[in-house]
């Protein structure tokens, strides 16, 4: 369990496993499929001050063992989204953390509004890749001044090392490391190059390395995020120094693994006992095999080419 306490309230993450922004929807859409109460918290999809439209053109590009997604972060703006989802957030069995995006001015206004809403447990700031450390410090401090809610800062993967101290100095209560990195890939349907966020299991070693670099240097908790698809993946983040983890695209690929990962850390040890072999450490009935029991099939071509007749 991870507790993050600020002047106003305590965010208790039990288990220390959360649904990440961008993957689980705005208000527990996955509740129709999996028991979200097994998670420690749910972070909403990104919300901005004003409404944003969905991206145009191709939005999904399949990759080898991953996917590139460019949604445009569509949302109706903070006030409309709050009207639309407040009842669901209030009824949520787990803490709801609102992920905010925008300019420092926008973020400050959103934070001041959310500070008055009892159903919001914390705020997560999406830190833009292009910001400098000075700008990040100022931005976080500006938001911090508007709210007493626990404040998480989600850092871009490749700038996390440079920006972490600035976010902490600005007043973040925890850092999420890291947001999915940006990439560019060719859409097989339209033939166009598409830029977007990249997801997949291969992100884990990159993020774990950065968590390991930063954890000893920071006094605030780190929440690991990126490529977690199995309890062992989460365990690697914890061993590297993370105090909690966020799950993202695994919920699209293998929703059942979200429950397996959450249960693996529901009151059990957070790291493997020293000297224990991998097959000796399977708490709480998590899957015995690293992967599933599906019968492997000959690998089909992974990119369908239109049209399919």
């Amino acid at each position: 369990m991870l507790e993050i306490t600020t002047g106003k309230m305590t965010l208790r993450l039990s288990p220390p496993v959360m649904g990440a922004s961008g993957a689980f929807g705005f208000a527990g859409e996955y509740g129709k499929l999996i028991d979200l109460s097994t998670l420690g918290a749910l972070v909403t999809n990104p919300i901005s001050l004003r409404a944003r439209r969905a991206a145009t053109g191709a939005r999904v590009v399949p990759l080898d063992s991953g996917v590139l997604i460019h949604t445009g972060l569509p949302n109706g703006g903070i006030y409309k989204m709050h009207r639309q989802y407040a009842a669901k957030w209030r009824a949520s069995p787990i803490p709801v953390i609102v992920h905010l995006i925008g300019t420092p001015e926008d973020l400050a206004e959103c934070a001041a509004f959310l500070d008055q809403q009892a159903e919001i447990a914390a705020i997560e700031l999406g830190i833009n890749d292009a910001l400098t450390a000075r700008e990040v410090r100022a931005m976080v401090a500006r938001v911090r001044a508007q709210t007493q809610l626990p404040l998480l800062a989600k850092l871009p993967l490749y700038q996390a090392v440079n920006l972490a101290a600035a976010a902490a100095d600005g007043g973040a209560n925890a850092l999420v490391i890291a947001a999915p990195p940006r990439g560019t890939a060719r859409d097989p349907l339209s033939g166009q190059l598409v830029g977007g966020r990249v997801y997949g299991p291969w992100l884990k070693p990159l993020a774990v390395r950065i968590v390991g670099q930063l954890a000893p240097r920071l006094s605030i908790p780190i929440i690991g995020c990126g490529g977690i698809h199995h309890p062992d993946d989460a365990r690697d983040f914890f061993e590297a120094g993370a105090r909690a983890v966020q799950l993202d695209s695994v919920v699209w690929a293998r929703p059942e693994m979200v429950i397996a990962i959450a249960k693996a850390f529901s009151g059990g040890e957070l790291t493997r006992a020293a000297g224990a072999l991998a097959d000796e450490w399977r708490p709480l009935g998590e899957p015995a095999e690293r992967r599933t029991t599906l019968i492997p099939a000959p690998p089909p071509p992974h990119v369908p080419s239109p049209p399919e007749i």
Partner: protein, 255 residues
């Protein structure tokens, strides 16, 4: 919606390009209607990473039949992880006696389950296969179906008459051809019928759907009222008079 494992009981090659898989599934997943679909995972690895959309074409007592291209290889007794059924059933009107179905550069598989119920109540149905859709094996289609083949949309003979007499029209085209194809069809319908009423003309939107549950927002369709709704939960068929085709087309051109 459920996540369940199914077993491939039988694989039948319908043509050089089309095969049908008979899946043994649990009862909740057999409760589906035409237009609904599954997201399937066939491998234990994460390559491919995303699930594939599988379209049921027939329902049997204990199995469902899905259609897949033959370039994908499957094995009898292979276990498949299914998410679904997803999406909304096609809004087939009880009063629709004459159906017009248009497959534009896409297999007409998505219509087949709906056709089962439509033909069972003696509706007349015409299927227009345009472009590469012509390669679809005719023997896989119900015999009661009238089939028209055209190399291009423009060479579809008697297009105006077909559009004029239809009680309901469903069209399928793959992205990125979907928006221009549906725009042209809507314009034709407006010209031929003078006014296109609601619930007459539907376009099927099949963008890649990572989650299938409306959470990832990768498959949003823009409506005339300004809303953007996920095709995976609110589609895949959308009333084209409700879709903001003009703006979507303009945005796509500028993307």
């Amino acid at each position: 919606m459920h996540q369940r494992q199914a077993v491939i009981e039988r694989i039948r090659r319908v043509s050089a390009g089309v095969q049908r898989l008979e899946l043994a599934v649990e009862p909740p997943q057999r409760a589906l209607s035409g237009g609904q679909f599954f997201l399937a995972r066939t491998t234990a690895t994460y390559d491919p990473y995303l699930r594939e959309a599988w379209l049921p074409v027939a329902l049997n007592d204990k199995t469902i039949v899905v259609e897949r291209p033959t370039r994908y290889q499957y094995l009898p007794n292979q276990v498949v992880d299914l998410l679904g059924p997803l999406g909304k059933p096609f809004p087939l009107r009880n009063s629709a006696r004459a159906l017009l179905l248009i497959a534009y550069e896409a297999a007409p598989s998505i219509f087949l389950l709906m056709l089962q119920s439509a033909l069972a109540r003696n509706s007349a149905a015409t299927l227009v296969l345009i472009g590469q859709a012509q390669q679809y094996p005719l023997e896989a289609l119900p015999s009661a179906l009238e089939v028209i083949r055209a190399e291009h949309y423009e060479t579809w003979a008697e297009r105006a008459q077909h559009i004029a007499w239809a009680d309901q029209i469903f069209a399928v085209a793959p992205p990125p051809y979907d928006l221009p194809a549906y725009m042209r069809l809507l314009e034709d319908a407006q010209r031929v019928r003078h006014a296109v009423s609601a619930e007459l003309l539907y376009g099927i939107f099949q963008p890649p759907m990572p989650c299938g549950i409306g959470a990832c927002q990768a498959c949003l369709v823009r409506l005339q009222n300004g809303d953007e709704v996920p095709a995976c939960t609110e589609g895949m068929a959308f009333d084209l008079t409700r879709v903001n085709l003009l703006q979507s087309l303009a945005d796509s051109a500028g993307a």
